[in-house]
């Protein structure tokens, strides 16, 4: 298998670093293998690519593309961590903060939250110029084992794809349009669905923020010992780099 793979391999560069890719691979897939981290929120290992958060925007051949959906092309020069791209990514992450209600100090996900971690990685330290939209969003605690605090949802849709493609269920889906577009459940509330706490969609790795909450396990890992207390988001991918 690896023998045939090598034959179709080609190279391109990300920020000047040569990367090997194989036919059909996206820029992000090739970068991950090579230990080059491209920031992302809606993309998650094992789930189909969606390209909606746009945080993985890179410049490929001068054009802006989403690295998670754009196929790698031989010889292409891809720009990833330039000040310009980092600024735009910071704008996008700020937009997500301002679109919902994100109160890190009281959030169970703090320290494990990819949105928060991305803000740190992208150096979101200055006061923001965006307005807060402060939407009224619902808390769904109907399910015996799971709660949903949609104030924190960033519409990444990872739970939708995990439930559909991995669990074979379809517990979640998008409804509405534009700024009213949101993740909703397949029924009146979560208890009305066939969601189970053992679903992949409900697991801690799928929801990047503190929207999907597993009841009775809050703060099992204390603040200070959480995933992003150990390193910047993406450090595990960057550790692969030779």
């Amino acid at each position: 298998m690896s023998g045939t793979k090598k034959e179709t391999g080609f190279t391109f560069t990300i920020d000047g670093v040569e990367i090997t890719a194989y036919a059909g691979e996206t820029i992000m897939e090739a970068a991950d293998e090579a230990g080059v981290y491209i920031p992302r929120l809606c993309d998650h290992e094992g789930l189909r690519h969606q390209g909606s958060c746009r945080v993985c925007t890179v410049k490929a051949g001068g054009r802006s593309v989403a690295a998670c959906t754009q196929p790698a092309a031989p010889g292409q020069a891809v720009e990833n961590e330039s000040p310009h791209l980092t600024k735009m990514r910071r704008d996008l992450v700020e937009m997500l903060f301002h679109e919902g209600n994100h109160l890190c100090p009281i959030c169970e996900a703090s320290g494990n939250c990819e949105l928060q971690a991305m803000a740190y990685r992208l150096d979101m330290t200055e006061t923001t110029r965006f307005p807060y939209l402060e939407p009224c969003r619902a808390l769904d605690a109907s399910h015996p084992d799971i709660a949903l605090d949609t104030n924190r949802c960033i519409s990444c849709g990872r739970c939708i794809r995990a439930s559909e493609d991995v669990d074979g269920k379809g517990v979640f889906g998008y409804v509405g349009r534009g700024i009213h577009r949101r993740v909703a459940v397949n029924g009146e509330n979560l208890a009305d669905t066939d969601a189970q706490v053992t679903d992949h969609a409900i697991s801690s790795e799928v929801c990047p923020v503190g929207c999907i909450i597993r009841k009775r396990v809050g703060f099992v890992t204390p603040i200070g010992e959480r995933e992003f207390d150990k390193g910047l988001i993406g450090h595990e991918i960057e550790a692969r780099r030779k």
């Binding site: 390209g51 996008l92 939209l133 009224c136 619902a138 379809g170 979640f172 534009g178 009213h180 577009r181």
Partner: protein
Amino acid sequence: MDNGQECTSGLSSTACDVGAVPAEEIAAICQTFGNDKHRMLDILRAVQDRYHCISPSTMDSVAAETGLTRIQVEGVASFYSFLSLTPKGRVTIRLCDDIVDRYAGLAEVVAVFEEVLGIRMGETSADRAFSLEYTPCIGMCDQAPAAMINDVVLTRLTVDTARAAAEALKAGRTPDHLISERYAELTPHERATRMVDNNIRHAGEVLLGPVPEDAGLDKAAAMMPSLIIAAIEESGLRGCGGAGFTTGHKWRFAAAERAEKRFILCNADEGEPGTFKDRVLLTERPHLLIEGMTIAARAVGANEGILYLRGEYVYLRELLEQVLEDRRRRGLLGKGIHGIRNFDFDVRLQLGAGAYICGEEGALISSCEGLPGEPKTRPPFPVNRGYLGHPTVVNNVETFCHAARILDRGATWFHAMGTEGSHGTKLFSICGDCLNPGIYELPYGHTVREILEMAGGQDAAAVQVGGPSGTMIARDSFHRKLTFDDLATGGAIIVFNGERNILEIVEYYMSFFVHESCGYCTPCRVGNVFLQKAIGKFRKGLANPEDIDYLKELSGTIIETSRCGLGMTSPNPILSTLQNFPLVYSAVTKPNKDRIRDTFDIQSAIDGARKIAKRRSYIFDRDFTQ
């Protein structure tokens, strides 16, 4: 709360509580469309038309019949403006609130409807007889203000005609009868032209002049498919919807793809505010359009086509159905067209349901597939993998009409018209502050000034070329030419005189994009709301000079990171006016005084807390003692 989001206490908004529709009735509707999930838009439109609401139990039934989950059905039902999860009236009156309608007296017309029907805009009467709504541009800017009354269109509304219509409806007359007492006796074409004037002001040589019937198809039928494509390429024809991709190349790519099936889709989702040229072609040249689609089918080897008609043009449905039926009867659609073996092609009409984004070709394909109108990830491109994964050609109405004429008259004839790079003629829909709004078929290359003279718009102070996603130009640019290389347009030319408030126009266009963004990607979904709010600051005179940089930076992020053309062009109203009307902005900005932010308003800042606490503030409420 003015945050672009509705405030709901529960998980879902108030659902339909009207008597539950028996599941058998819903099953019968689904059966009409073969229980096919790809016909979801048709199914939900039929449910909406009959029951004026899509309730949770209805969605359960539809899901069961089509093999989907309820959330998938809800995803579609909640996406389109003309579908409703809450009960609507038996008659829904949709008043077009485009900026052109506003300047033509919309407010007075709204007041009349509200007064006569006894409900406010956005409300449904208690007896469920009427709903009153605003809707974005319905393609009647040359005869504004206009409204849709269910499937009927009223144009050139005045206080008097609006009152007569509202009182007739209130007295129990059907919308049809507002058009004619003898509505039932009129032909579909008569009905359409009674409702809506064509306003053809200048007929050109290609489309609106005399057109012999099916002459292009006759010639194409005798040609090798590859030669048809070559002719279209040689003609220099480019897509007339706005993007201007070379039509012949598109056909060639689709033909070259190895596939069992190919599709021809016609984009009649003419949603760009100020554009109404396709409306006229659909009314006056429907045979030419289907002829063009049939030629494209012959060229690329497609057997099936879809004509995607925007929901706002539902009044043209029966006219187009009649044309399709007529062509089937005459052997111009169906099996063995022109007696040629394997030349099989038929077209189905797909009606939209109120979503501007469906004019984007990927979103149009999604909508045809029965999905929410969300653009698709590119690559793959539609010519490689489009409708249901098959190679698909999506062209605009005007493009197909041109193609049919090119096959009749030859590529050289077409190529000789227009300018280098922009060949042939183009339909321009001109509206706003001019004496003769309507359709002008002209070769590419005329200057804006020449067009304004033809339309009687010499007083123009600003011209919006290409609609909101295009460019707003000032007098110093009226010498510029209407070509793909200078000022490109899908057809819209909106004229504004010196009395119009540029910032009001810009604010309206931003609210349009906020309303029409599909919400798939972050920058377009959220960024446009921020832009709209920022423009609101300028309008209120609360902007600082730094806010101009903020507008530019935020626009840059939205343009560079958005997933489709909507977000890549939605900041254009702001950017093009900042560039061409800089004084409009600088006149209303003032520097911060004493480092106090003028935009900070303590009353609105504490309003949320006040509501939660259910009491007022001793310190900040000026009126506390009252």
